[in-house]
Symmetry: C2
Subunit: 300 residues, 2 copies
């Protein structure tokens, strides 16, 4: 199923060249005009901004059911010891759990739910499969920040994802306030690819999930993207059950959470079945399956 | 000029007792009905919330003049070496400069400006002097957070400020967005004093200005204050030139700044001339003059 790596025709060379640069995106953002839950206006705004917020996707009883299952999961010693669980070194608390569409019954149903999958299909113009899934816990008072990055940069260099034809869904399980470490997005940044410098060492993912050192864009480029956006950053606030859909190349970050309110969200990445990974473009070998799935069966 | 310390009648014992507790504030928030720039509604909202935002206090030319003088100051080697300047260890950048009402010509004028001082007098019902002044720089991408604290807790325990009769003015020199590390305030928290545990070592201020370890309220108490506020945190966003006035005991914090936009503000603390410090209530000796002024001459 793996295509042969063709790094001589790498359209998005990152972690390869001695200096970083900006590359214009080659692919469309919305693949064709497909029927689906999003209106024309919704698709246009996604295409323009690189993200979209959908209100009230999950109802309170569904959110409660997810919370209950997750609480039960993080309490299990075998889950804490699982390599797919990331523990915060300082506090010893669970920060992320990966591959939750396989380990959680409710999230596996959600990852195949028409309210979600049909949006991914509509944007990507094809059947889709799950490239990655996870739950992020950002605890009150001590939730750490994630610095600016494009997910596609990592998925391309480390996972061999050839083109920009994937979308992420961030499903809020708690209130997102401006002050509890919300998702920040730079509008329009999905149209520019920022190459990064530095060679990927083997097993980079082990440390990068706690603190990202590679795939970190230079500040000068972030300032450029911010200026191009008219000095605007989208702060994704909202109720539990809201969903933020964003393009795989949208530059995003999230600040630390010093507030008394935790923040938890489910993160589902859908990739087009026509965009399945090849060998990594700039890493010694592919990351494990729980970070970059090799199960390309369409969902939904 | 120093009153004798009378710790046997310490109304706000902190860093003394083995466990922390909440104490109801004894003093008023607004001292009488005094003429001044604030309306009755403004005074009432300050009294209720413990803070107030004043729009458009400085005009753009004044802000530019302050920026120019500050740029010139931080570039001077003797300023960087001055003990009143706090350097961020990781980046080697200036994070704060203290006693700026004496070292900056423009800030010294501002600290005596009727637009500011008359508000302090109106709230505190007396002549006022400057207990502390500083400029805070929160650089883009790496501005550090300040965790939750009441300034009065430190001013009482370490500086010997007897009662809650001081107000702080945070004067914005840059845009305050929700995402560049703005001031966060818990409405109504000024009415409750949260005692802290831990004994103050001598010279505590040297490390506490970079990372506060003492005078840090317990999380359980912060949750209580947040709940009492109806689950609301005030995020002080606004234009350059806006001023946030807040009570000395209002619980506040500010998150890290991972955005591409720096945040700079001037911080002026006015204390009532009827509330001049005695010996510290819970520290071996008083902090230096540049942190807790001994010049009690009224300003304005």
């Amino acid at each position: 199923m793996l295509h042969p790596a063709d790094t001589s025709h790498d359209s998005y060379p990152s972690r390869i060249e001695p200096t970083s640069r900006l590359i214009e995106r080659r692919e469309p953002v919305v693949y064709g005009h497909n029927p689906g839950p999003l209106s024309d206006a919704g698709l246009q705004s996604f295409s323009r901004d690189g993200f979209l917020q959908m209100r009230g996707i999950l109802d309170p009883s569904e959110i409660e059911a997810v919370h209950n299952e997750l609480s039960e999961m993080v309490a299990r010693p075998e889950v804490r010891q699982d390599e797919r669980t990331i523990i915060e070194p300082a506090s010893n608390e669970v920060r992320s759990m990966f591959q939750v569409h396989e380990t959680s019954r409710i999230i596996s149903r959600l990852a195949a739910d028409k309210r979600i999958v049909d949006v991914a299909r509509q944007i990507l113009g094809s059947y889709v499969y799950i490239h990655q899934s996870r739950v992020n816990f950002k605890p009150a008072f001590e939730g750490k920040d994630f610095s600016w990055h494009s997910d596609f940069e990592t998925w391309h260099t480390e996972d061999g994802m050839p083109a920009m034809r994937a979308v992420s869904f961030s499903i809020s399980l708690t209130e997102n306030y401006t002050y509890n470490g919300p998702l920040l997005l730079i509008p329009g940044s999905h149209r520019i690819y920022v190459t990064c410098v530095g060679e990927t060492p083997e097993g980079n993912y082990r440390s990068s999930l706690q603190f990202q050192k590679l795939g970190v864009p230079e500040r000068e480029h972030l300032r450029t993207l911010y200026k191009r956006a008219g000095g605007r950053i989208e702060v994704c606030t909202g109720e539990p059950g809201e969903v933020t859909v964003f393009d795989c190349n949208t530059m995003h970050a999230s600040p630390s959470n010093i507030s008394p309110v935790p923040r938890t969200n489910i993160f589902l990445v859908f990739n087009s079945v026509e965009n399945t990974p090849v060998e990594p473009f700039a890493a010694p070998k592919r990351r494990p399956d729980y970070l970059a799935s090799r199960d390309y069966n369409p969902v939904g």
